[in-house]
């Protein structure tokens, strides 16, 4: 069990800068998600930590060791791939034993370790089968067993659940979390699935165009996004822009909106983000922030109702409401929205 440190890592491919000055720490035993759209550099960062890509600049530390110049096979990492990457010509037991053999663990000792690892992923008795005889979910669990049996310093997961269907993916999330907690392995998880990132991680790092724009606990990152990109990529957000006026924000249509966020001085341009589920359709709940808008689309999704609205001056808004009293508003109705200053977050553009 060790922490991983990344210090001012940069990588460019020709004229394209894939990673720019990344510095962060993955604490011992933590589960960190690298979340970002494709091209954000999250996979490149993971592959640099793994050793498949050499950074142009910067240092990678695993524990107290500088591994920047250590090749992949010497880094003692456990890795899972989207395509499972099991060795098709070997049995499940041989697959799991592969890393042990490389460490000189053979025979009875290796067999015991393999059995224990397969038991951990609930695949005891599958050792003599070949990868082809297993389902996708089972194959991915073998890949997990193979990665953890070598007691790696760090577990690196490259979108390992993306190839699974929804139900299986949720099952595997639970399994992955349980095994990560049991083993206490420092885990770095690359995903583009925000829900997966929120459910699994102790920490979420949001990457955009080669930079970490925000890193923190899922709750903090979701409730207090620092930038417009973070607010938009992780969950949904409504954005209102205006100018600061006496500690509040005056929108272009004249409405004054209050925010608990620290605001810049008078006259400065500011963008406010409000989560769609934090707005309510209630008429008189005493919230100081109000807007009136017309419903353009109603999306009925069972427990949750999504309303797409438009203010008289053409600003699009989204609102999520619990389907509590069974009253569904109709398209074309004009409603009054309200929300609290606490949920009005000033974000950088």
């Amino acid at each position: 069990m060790t922490n991983v440190k990344v210090k001012s890592v940069a990588k460019t491919y020709g004229p394209i800068s894939v990673l720019t000055d990344i510095s962060t720490e993955f604490p011992e035993g933590s589960f960190t998600s690298l979340l970002g759209p494709s091209g954000s550099g999250k996979t490149t960062l993971l592959r640099i930590i793994a050793g498949f890509i050499k950074p142009d600049e910067g240092v990678i530390m695993i524990g107290n060791n500088d591994v920047t110049n250590v090749p992949v096979w010497g880094r003692n990492i456990g890795m899972m791939f989207q395509s499972y990457a099991l060795f098709p010509h070997m049995t499940i037991a041989q697959n799991v034993a592969f890393g042990l053999e490389r460490r000189g663990i053979k025979g009875e000792a290796a067999r015991k370790e393999v059995d224990r690892a397969l038991e951990m992923v609930r695949l005891s008795g599958f050792g003599d089968r070949t990868p082809k005889q297993l389902s996708g979910g089972q194959q991915q669990r073998v890949a997990l067993a193979r990665a953890i049996v070598i007691k790696p310093s760090v577990l690196l997961l490259d979108e390992p659940l993306s190839a699974l269907d929804r139900r299986l993916r949720q099952e595997m999330q639970v399994e992955l979390l349980r095994i990560q907690r049991e083993s206490g392995l420092t885990t770095i998880f690359v995903t583009h699935d925000q829900e997966e990132a929120l459910t699994l991680s102790d920490k979420v790092a949001i990457l955009d165009r080669g930079r970490i724009v925000q890193i923190g606990e899922p709750e903090t990152v979701y409730e207090r996004p620092l930038t417009r990109f973070a607010a938009e990529f992780l969950g949904d957000s409504n954005f209102l822009s205006g100018k600061v006026e006496n500690g509040a924000v005056r929108l272009s249509n004249g409405t004054v909106v209050r925010s608990d966020s620290a605001l810049p001085g008078n006259g400065a341009d500011v963008t406010l983000a409000i989560r769609p589920e934090k707005m309510s359709l209630a008429t008189a709940d005493g919230q100081p922030n109000r807007l009136s808008a017309r419903i353009t689309t109603v999306i009925y999704a069972g427990p949750v109702l999504s309303y797409i609205l438009e203010t008289p001056d053409g600003l699009p808004l989204k609102l999520f409401a619990q389907n509590r009293d069974g009253r569904v508003l109709r398209e074309g109705e004009t409603v009054s929205l309200s929300w609290s200053p606490e949920h009005t977050i000033a974000v950088a553009n």
Binding site: W73, F98, I150
Partner: protein, 304 residues
């Protein structure tokens, strides 16, 4: 896609009575296979049958000697024991050529698969196919220019060390194997390339992440996974090589007496077609026996 079209054709057929119902599957299958199998029958099966018939004759039927049915041609290996040695040499020639092709071809295929930068892969493929596009005779004769005494190789050596003797290997078995490897290497490279190119990069990366260095990846992952390519390459090379006569004759000189040259002599010099035919079929039987043994061994290994 195909099924969709078939289904489409069927529904259309039921709607419009003028449109014929599609032919039954066996008719179209037969029609599609007929040209190929017809050609194979005419071009391979019939000549081979003729040769088989020849091998049981006492003399070439075009001559004046009366022809009768006999099995004596198949006793050649007993009557002329030196043929056994020649046969063995031919098999060894096949073995070494196949082995060198396997080693060089596999490594070249690995390099080819890993060459992903720009047009490197295309360029390398063209370079590999070059021996295929040159005339075989020209290819072999150009080797004599390189290998003979005071040839290209000697000249280079004498530039470095003027007092050194000749390192000419022309008219040795090494020269024969060298020429054969040059000619047949592309088969091995291509079959291995096809097998290797299907291996997912992540599998190699997974092995590396588990602590495997390049040689472990080679022996434990690449070679076992590309075994089908190695085997088909070996089959493609071994069979023509043990029957080859051009390379042994030109590069081997006096030592280049192989089953191939003996058989060729029977047809072109001695005009003893029945003996040539019987030797060919004996060789075919030996090759089939070797492959039968090996496939049994390989199957036993994968099963166990």
């Amino acid at each position: 896609m195909q099924n969709d079209q078939l289904a489409l054709a069927q529904t259309r057929g039921s709607v419009d009575p003028r449109v014929k119902r599609p032919l039954p599957a066996w008719v179209s299958t037969t029609a599609l296979l007929l040209p190929t199998y017809g050609w194979l029958t005419i071009a391979i099966f019939l000549p081979l049958l003729t040769m088989l018939a020849f091998s049981f004759m006492s003399a070439t039927p075009m001559g004046k000697t009366p022809v009768e049915f006999t099995l004596k041609q198949y006793r050649a290996f007993i009557d002329q024991p030196y043929l056994l040695r020649i046969g063995f040499n031919s098999l060894m020639m096949g073995f070494w050529t196949t082995l060198f092709c396997a080693i060089l071809g596999f490594l070249a295929a690995v390099a080819l698969v890993r060459a992903t930068v720009g047009k490197t892969r295309e360029t390398l493929l063209v370079l590999i196919l070059l021996p295929f596009w040159t005339n075989g005779l020209v290819r072999v004769f150009s080797w004599t220019m390189v290998l003979r005494e005071n040839g290209f190789l000697d000249n280079i050596l004498h530039m470095v060390a003027p007092d050194a003797g000749s390192i000419s290997i022309l008219y040795t078995r090494y020269a024969v194997v060298l020429g054969l490897v040059h000619g047949y290497l592309p088969y091995m490279i291509l079959t291995c390339y096809i097998a290797l190119v299907t291996i997912d990069d992540a599998i190699i990366e997974a092995a590396a992440s588990l602590g495997a260095r390049w040689w472990t990846i080679l022996y434990k992952i690449l070679i076992p996974m590309a075994a089908p390519g190695l085997i088909s390459g070996a089959v493609l090379i071994f069979i023509p090589v043990i029957g080859s006569f051009m390379e042994p004759r030109i590069l081997g000189g006096r030592v280049g007496v192989t089953m191939g040259t003996v058989i060729e002599d029977q047809f072109t010099q001695a005009f003893n077609w029945p003996l040539g035919a019987s030797l060919s079929f004996t060789l075919l039987a030996v090759v089939l026996a070797i492959f039968a043994t090996f496939s049994g061994v390989l199957r036993g290994r994968t099963a166990g």
